[in-house]
Amino acid sequence: MGMGRRTGFWLPVVIIFFWGLAVLVLQDDTLREKVFTLFMFVGLASSLNLLLGYSGYISFGHIVFFGLGGYSGFYLISQHHWSIYPAMLAGGVLSATLAGLLGLAVLRLRGAYFALATIGINEAARALVGNFGPFGGATGLYVNFATYQQYGGAGKALWLTFILLWLTILIILTVSFMIKDSRFGLGLMAIREDEDAALVMGVGAARLKTLAYMFSAFFPGIIGTLYFFKNGNVEPGDAFQLQMSIEMLVMVMLGGQGTVLGPLLGAVTYQGLRGYLLTSPIFKNLHLAMAGLILLLIILFVPTGGIGWLRERLPRLRKVLE
């Protein structure tokens, strides 16, 4: 069945479309900022899901692609005066290329070994960037406020950044569904269930895994460029936060790995929960510990996440909840 006729495809896309449209119509700056943060996490979680959800490979250091892509895009804007449009694409392409090269090596590892390697990559990238002169070393890079003038001023530039992120999220959801609905996705899911059996059945595991890794790295590179462009500066400490990697994992697992709607649901739920925990007098210093506990409980009791649980319990919803 074509994806155009599938409710499961339209549901997340329609949610995000109208959500973003509502922000644009209301022209409320405060709402825009709040939704920007939320969309950013939806995008990052959905990107991770392309690898984790479909192929079962757990990347603990996936934030490296947000950091490196963001750094590269921001470098082009601040040092070479590129416009945000090509710069964000360049950030994405560089992230994907790097993932392709790294994937050739680390995707040979499985399970915990792969997860450990991804943490190592993130830490190595942080150390590299912190010593890399063109990226400003430990002091990072910044843009002059006048840079925003070419977009009609800082106010319009912030709206433009929001719109670009919104469109990026819509593309990520579409790509996520297309992969899930394709032969490529079927191959990835075969790898997830039993990689050796998939190999025996003729699935080109190495090529498919690398491609999935590249797709899942491309979008964080774009999101990173948009985020740092909006912030006006980038530093190694902000770009490679391992904590964000763990939060991305929690979001995917919470919503439902291997589903299109799951990361969206997970990101929104986690952000709401995080807001509550951080303002709660009891939990405010324990929010990461709580995130870890949630992850543990999900893995133990609801390994398929929220959407997976609903699909199992309510078969009628399977067509709607992809």
Partner: protein
């Protein structure tokens, strides 16, 4: 209606109208300005962020208790604070400052603690043309981005350790060699890059320039590279690593005339290092020992604002049951600056307050404050100087903190490190 009744009615209406007009006039004389900020109540900057906000809240309490800010036209400005927890996270800062401006209608902004968070907030302040005082941010780069409404209270990172070079020249005019070992993060790198340039300008040789990663606990590889007969060791990073570096410099018997390190030495806990702390010098934005006075302001022909140091310390201690630090002083002074600018401009309008801030040259218990007015570095702090403390022994052999620089406020002369 009888004429008497008509007269009575007219008189009553006039009285009511007069009452309403009087009430209106009375209200128009009192206004409330909202000062918006985020406080790092959770996350890694919790301690410093909370101290900064304590200082600011003390100023708000005092200014309101004194009846508000009185403008020349008789209007009284009361101050209200509106703040949120930024979780020490950049991803929250822009969202919250946008909310402070648009929903809470903040008239003025105070930055969060740390250069990274202040940088993120400054973009929003400039975008909405709201004056922001960066209370706890030392980065120079924030003020090189073309902002026109952002003003810094801290001495910038580029001048954090340059005074130590002048101090070294005073300790030993023949000093030639310095070794720099520093934490490789934005703040420390900014500090040591400027230190290196200044040292070279002064004819010193930088014989070692080594950065270490955040979280380093073993400094032996760096200490072993320090050449013999080096005149000073400078650098460090944040509290934990700087304290460890100082201890290991002592354990490895590094003999030098001066050790000047960032962040940790001014903290009271640094004395717990015992002999390893003896002689170590550290820069600080402000110390309770500093005695800037109205007389000092007079001698410079500039205005004095706010309480004397003793008053500030006593009130802070009484309210929070702890000693104020430079973070607390920075928060308080951010409020004082706004008070002075609003009062002098006679207005709360951004353009008028900005005009005053641009040309302000004043002194308070915190020191002198003046801002760069050039487009290349607008708002950068150019009036305030770091003070340098040194851990020395008193008559009983107990470790005490002494101010050794600048000359105008020092409580003791700097001493060379004893042979180890």
């Amino acid at each position: 209606m009888r004429p008497k009744s008509l007269v009575g009615l007219v008189v009553a209406v006039i009285l009511v109208m007069a009452k309403i007009m009087w009430a209106d006039a009375d209200t128009s004389k009192t206004r409330t300005v909202v000062i918006g900020f985020t406080a790092s109540q959770t996350g890694k900057l919790n301690v410093e962020g909370t101290r900064q906000i304590n200082g600011l809240n003390l100023w708000i309490e005092q200014v309101n208790a004194a009846g508000g800010i009185k403008l020349p036209d008789g209007t009284v400005i009361k101050v209200a604070a509106k703040f949120y927890d930024d979780e020490s996270s950049k991803s929250r800062v822009q969202e919250l400052y946008t909310k402070l401006i648009n929903q809470d209608r903040a008239d003025f902004l105070i930055s969060p603690y740390s250069s990274g968070l202040a940088d993120a907030a400054a973009v929003i302040a400039q975008q909405y043309n709201r004056i922001m005082i960066t209370a706890g941010a030392a980065s120079d780069s924030t003020h090189k981005k073309g902002y026109t409404v952002v003003y810094q209270t801290y001495t910038p990172a580029s001048r954090y350790l340059t005074g130590a070079v002048d101090l070294l020249a005073g300790l030993d005019p023949k000093a030639q060699k310095i070794a720099i070992v520093y934490e490789k993060d934005k703040f420390c790198t900014d500090v040591v890059n400027s230190l290196t340039s200044y040292a070279k300008q002064q004819g010193l040789q930088v014989v070692l320039f080594e950065g270490y990663d955040s979280g380093t606990t073993d400094f032996a590889p760096f200490i072993n590279k320090i050449p013999a007969k080096v005149d000073a060791v400078m650098g460090g990073g944040h509290f934990a690593d700087t304290s460890t570096l100082a201890r290991q410099l002592y354990e490895k018997k590094v003999n030098t005339k001066m050790i000047a390190l960032l962040v940790a030495p001014p903290e009271d806990q640094f004395a717990e290092l015992g002999d390893a702390a003896l002689g170590v010098i550290g820069p600080s934005q402000w110390e309770p020992l500093v005695a800037y006075t109205p007389e000092a302001a007079n001698s410079l022909n500039i205005a004095w604002i706010g309480p004397k140091a003793g008053d500030f310390i006593a009130r802070y201690r009484s309210k929070y049951k702890e000693e104020p630090t430079y973070h607390s002083a920075g928060g308080y002074v951010a409020g004082l600056l706004l008070e002075k600018a609003i009062n002098q401009s006679g207005s709360t309008a951004t353009a008028k307050v900005k005009e005053v801030l641009d040309h302000l040259d004043i002194m308070s218990f915190y020191g002198r404050l003046r801002f760069d007015q050039t487009p290349a570095g607008h708002g950068l702090q150019v009036g305030h100087d770091m003070v340098y403390i040194q851990w020395q022994q008193d008559a009983q052999g107990k470790l005490v903190k002494q101010l050794v620089w600048p000359e105008a406020v020092k409580t003791a002369a700097a001493q060379p490190i004893k042979a180890r």
